[in-house]
C-alpha cells in the first residue's frame, strides 16, 4: 500500500491539469448558471450613415446601446437570479400546460426536451448496436484465416481513426440531395427519396454513422479480449457437448464482461455529448442534442450576444443527466474496487 504522500506525488501533475482546465471552468459554469451578467444599457439618439449604391442613406434613430465606463470598458452588472436560467431552459410551465391539456407531444417542441429525447434515444439505441456489431466483427475476425486477419483489422479500424468531422461529411455527401447512395435507393424503389427532409431518416443516418464510427473501437477491444479466452475451458465445454451458442453465452461473454462494461461506460459518455453529427448532418431543423443546445446558447450572434446564463444552466442539466446514466456501470466499478482493496 502506498503512503498518501507518495500517492499524491504520483498523481499531482495529472490532478493539477484536470483542476486547472476542467474543474475550475466547471465551477465557474456552476456559478454562472445562477447569475445573469448584463451590460448597463442606455437609450441614445444615433445617426447612422450606410452605403447604398451610388449614394449614402443616413437614418437617425433611438438605439439601445451599452454604457462605456471611465476605463473604456462596458459597464456590466451581475445579479444572482436563483433558478431563473434553469426555468428558462426547462420551461416547466409549458410542460405542465402540455400535460394538462393532454397534448404530451407538445413538450417536444421545447428545445431542451426535444434535445433530451434525442440524446437519450441516441445513447440508449446505439449502445447495444455498438456492442453487438463490435462483438460480431471480433468473433468473425477471430474465426477468419490468419492470413486475412491483418488486412481486415486494418480496414475495420479505418472508420474509428478517421477524423470525425470528415467521417460524418463523407457519409453526408453519399446521401444528401441526389448523392450516389440516395440515387441508388431511388432506382431500386422507384420513388423519390430525400434522406434529409424528415427527422426520422436523418436520425437513422446518425445512428448508422455512430455505429460505423464506434463499432471498430468495440471490435478491437473485444478482439484483444478474445485472445485471452482460456482454451482449456473452451475445450472442456466442447467435451461436455456445449453448442457454439452455449459456449459463447457461458464462456466467452462472461470472460468479456469487464470489457463490455468498459465499452458501455465510454460509449455512454461519448454518445451523451453527441454533437458532430448535428453539425455534420445539418440536422438542427429536425433533431438537436443537449451539447448542441449548449453550444447554440454560447455561439454569439452577429451583435455579439451570448446566452451565457442559459448555456451554463443547460450544461449543468447535461451534467446531472450523465451522472444518472453512469451510476449503474459505476456501481460495478465500486464493488470491484472494494473487492480488490480490502
Amino acid at each position: 500500500m502506498m503512503k498518501f504522500k507518495t500517492f499524491f506525488a504520483f498523481v499531482a501533475p495529472s490532478v493539477f491539469m484536470m483542476v486547472l482546465f476542467i474543474a475550475l471552468p466547471l465551477v465557474s459554469v456552476f456559478i454562472q448558471s445562477f447569475q445573469i451578467t448584463q451590460p448597463v444599457m442606455q437609450q441614445m439618439e444615433v445617426e447612422t450613415c450606410t452605403p447604398g449604391f451610388i449614394t449614402q442613406t443616413c437614418v437617425t434613430e433611438i438605439k439601445t446601446i451599452p454604457t462605456i465606463g471611465e476605463d473604456g470598458k462596458v459597464i456590466t452588472t451581475t445579479e444572482w437570479v436563483g433558478f431563473e436560467s434553469y426555468r428558462n431552459v426547462l420551461q416547466m410551465d409549458k410542460v405542465w400546460e402540455a400535460v394538462a391539456s393532454g397534448n404530451v407531444k407538445d413538450i417536444l417542441q421545447i428545445d431542451f426536451w426535444k434535445a433530451l429525447r434525442f440524446t437519450l434515444m441516441f445513447t440508449l439505441l446505439t449502445l447495444p448496436l455498438v456492442i453487438g456489431v463490435g462483438l460480431l466483427i471480433a468473433l468473425t475476425v477471430n474465426n477468419a484465416a490468419k492470413a486475412v486477419r491483418g488486412p481486415v483489422i486494418f480496414i475495420s479500424l479505418l472508420p474509428f481513426i478517421i477524423t470525425p468531422v470528415i467521417g460524418s461529411l463523407s457519409i453526408y455527401w453519399l446521401f444528401v440531395g441526389d448523392g450516389i447512395l440516395t440515387a441508388m435507393m431511388e432506382r431500386w424503389t422507384g420513388t423519390n427519396i430525400s434522406m434529409f427532409a424528415q427527422a426520422w431518416t436523418i436520425e437513422l443516418l446518425m445512428y448508422f454513422y455512430r455505429v460505423w464510427h464506434v463499432a471498430p473501437f468495440a471490435f478491437i477491444i473485444f478482439y484483444a479480449g478474445l485472445q485471452t479466452v482460456n482454451m482449456d475451458t473452451l475445450e472442456s465445454a466442447v467435451i461436455d457437448g456445449a453448442s457454439r451458442w452455449e459456449r459463447l453465452r457461458h464462456v466467452i461473454i462472461p470472460h468479456l464482461m469487464p470489457l463490455i462494461v468498459f465499452i458501455a461506460l465510454i460509449h455512454l459518455m461519448d454518445c451523451y455529448r453527441v454533437f458532430e453529427e448535428i453539425i455534420g448532418f445539418r440536422s438542427q431543423a429536425h433533431v438537436i442534442s443537449l451539447q448542441w443546445l449548449t453550444f447554440d446558447f454560447l455561439t454569439p450572434d452577429d451583435a455579439g450576444n451570448r446566452a451565457i446564463a442559459r448555456a451554463s444552466a443547460s450544461a449543468m442539466l447535461t451534467m446531472i443527466g450523465i451522472v444518472f446514466l453512469l451510476i449503474l456501470p459505476l456501481r460495478r466499478t465500486w464493488r470491484d474496487h472494494k473487492g480488490s482493496a480490502h
Binding site: 498523481v11 482546465f21 459554469v29 468473425t140 475495420s156 479505418l158 470525425p164 450516389i180
Partner: protein
C-alpha cells in the same frame, strides 16, 4: 491451435461468417474510398449524381487529365507491391537496421523512409517512364479514366497546407508525450493505491470525461485572449498571450485527455503483479525507483496503445484547436473546416476533400505500423474495466 476442436467450424458457419466480414469490410471502407475517388476529379465530376461519372470522370478527362490502361496497370502494381512489402518485408528491414532498445523509433523512421520512397517512385520515377511508354503503345496509351491531382497541388502548394501539417504534428507530438508522461505516473499511483481517495479521483475523472467540451472551451476563450493582461501583475512584461499558442492548446488537450489516459493506464498497471515492485522495494528502492527500474521496462505495450488514443485525440481535435489557435498556428482539421465557410465554391469543397484525404494518410500509416502493438497492448490488459 488450428487443430483445436473448439475452433473447428462448420461450412455454413464459415460461409456466413466470411460473408458478414466481407459486408463489414465494404461498409467500413466505402465512404473513405469514395471521398478518395472524389478528390481526384474535377468539381463537376466529383459531385455528379451518377456514380459512374464520379468514377470515370468524363469532365475531368475532357480537360486533358486522364490515365491510360498502362498508367493504371503500372500504378496499381507499384501500389500493390508497396502495400505487400509493408506487411511482409518492412518489419524485417526495420528489425535488422534499428538499434536494440529503440525499436519504436526504428519503426517511425522506417515508416517515414518507406513513405518517402513510395512518393518518389510513384510521383517522380513512374511519370518519367510512362510518358514515352504511352506514346509508343497507341490505344493502350490513350487516357480513358479522368483523374487529376490539381486539388492536391492546390492544397499543398498554393494553400501551403504543409504549414498546417507541421502545426498538427507539433500539437499531436506535444499531446502524446505530455499526456503519457503525466498519465503513466498518475495511472501507476492510482493502481498501487487502494485508498478510497484514489477511487473517488477516478470517478471524478470519469465525470470530467463526460463533460460536453463546448462548455469548457468557450470558457477558455476570454482568459486565453486576455492572459497577457491578467498575468502581468505576476510575471511582468514577459507574460504571454495564450491565444494562438500551440503549447497552450497542448495543455488543454492533455487535460481533456487525462481522464481516459489514467483509466487505461491504471487498468494496465493493475495487471502487472504488485509483487514485482514490492520485491524491488524490499531491496531498498523508493516507489519512484521501483517505478523506473521495474515497471518502466514492462509498461510499453500499454503505453503505446494509450498513446495511440492520445494521438487520435490530438490529431483529430476540432473544437479546441479551431477556437484557440489563429491562422498562423492552425492545425489541419480546422483548416479543412475553413474551406466550408459561408461563401465557398465547389472547387473549395473538392479541395477540402483532397485535404481530408491527405490528413487521413498519416493515420493510415500509423495504424499499419502499430496495428500489432494495439492488439497486444490491449490484450496485455489495458482495458480490464
Amino acid at each position: 491451435m488450428s487443430t483445436s476442436r473448439a475452433m473447428r467450424q462448420s461450412l455454413a458457419l464459415r460461409f456466413s461468417s466470411s460473408a458478414f466480414l466481407i459486408f463489414w469490410v465494404v461498409i467500413a471502407s466505402f465512404p473513405i474510398l469514395w471521398i478518395t475517388v472524389m478528390s481526384f476529379k474535377s468539381p463537376v465530376d466529383a459531385f455528379a449524381d451518377n456514380p459512374l461519372d464520379v468514377i470515370m470522370g468524363p469532365n475531368t478527362l475532357s480537360r486533358g487529365d486522364g490515365l491510360s490502361v498502362i498508367d493504371i496497370v503500372l500504378g496499381l502494381a507499384v501500389i500493390f507491391f508497396t502495400l505487400r512489402w509493408m506487411f511482409t518485408r518492412l518489419p524485417g528491414w526495420i528489425d535488422s537496421y534499428s538499434p536494440a532498445g529503440l525499436k519504436v523509433l526504428g519503426w517511425v523512421v522506417g515508416a517515414a523512409v518507406y513513405a518517402i520512397a513510395f512518393l518518389v517512385v510513384f510521383f517522380g520515377i513512374l511519370p518519367l517512364i510512362l510518358g514515352p511508354l504511352n506514346s509508343i503503345l497507341g490505344p493502350l496509351g490513350e487516357p480513358f479514366l479522368g483523374l487529376t491531382t490539381q486539388h492536391y497541388v492546390a492544397v499543398w502548394g498554393e494553400n501551403e497546407f504543409y504549414r498546417n501539417f507541421g502545426n498538427s504534428m507539433l500539437v499531436t507530438a506535444g499531446v502524446v508525450t505530455i499526456s503519457l508522461t503525466v498519465g503513466t505516473l498518475a495511472g501507476y499511483g492510482l493502481a498501487r493505491s487502494g485508498s478510497d481517495l484514489a477511487f473517488w479521483l477516478l470517478i471524478l475523472a470519469l465525470i470530467f470525461r463526460a463533460l460536453p467540451h463546448s462548455v469548457l472551451v468557450a470558457g477558455y476563450l476570454p482568459w486565453f485572449i486576455n492572459s497577457a493582461e491578467i498575468l502581468r501583475p505576476i510575471f511582468g512584461d514577459v507574460s504571454p498571450t495564450l491565444y494562438g499558442q500551440p503549447w497552450a492548446v497542448i495543455a488543454v488537450l492533455v487535460a481533456i485527455n487525462q481522464p481516459f489516459t489514467i483509466w487505461m493506464l491504471r487498468s494496465f498497471f493493475q495487471n502487472i503483479p504488485a509483487e514485482l515492485d514490492e520485491a524491488a522495494r524490499v531491496d531498498g528502492c523508493s516507489h519512484f525507483q521501483a517505478f523506473r527500474r521495474v515497471i518502466m521496462p514492462v509498461m510499453w505495450p500499454g503505453v503505446i496503445t494509450t498513446g495511440l488514443f492520445s494521438f487520435l485525440l490530438g490529431y483529430n481535435d476540432f473544437l479546441v484547436t479551431s477556437l484557440l489557435l489563429d491562422a498562423q498556428n492552425q492545425t489541419m482539421v480546422p483548416a479543412i473546416a475553413g474551406y466550408f465557410n459561408r461563401e465557398t465554391t465547389t472547387t473549395d469543397q473538392v479541395e477540402a476533400v483532397a485535404a481530408a484525404v491527405s490528413i487521413t494518410a498519416p493515420l493510415f500509416l500509423l495504424v499499419m505500423v502499430f496495428q500489432r502493438q494495439i492488439v497486444s497492448g490491449l490484450t496485455a490488459g489495458a482495458v480490464k474495466g
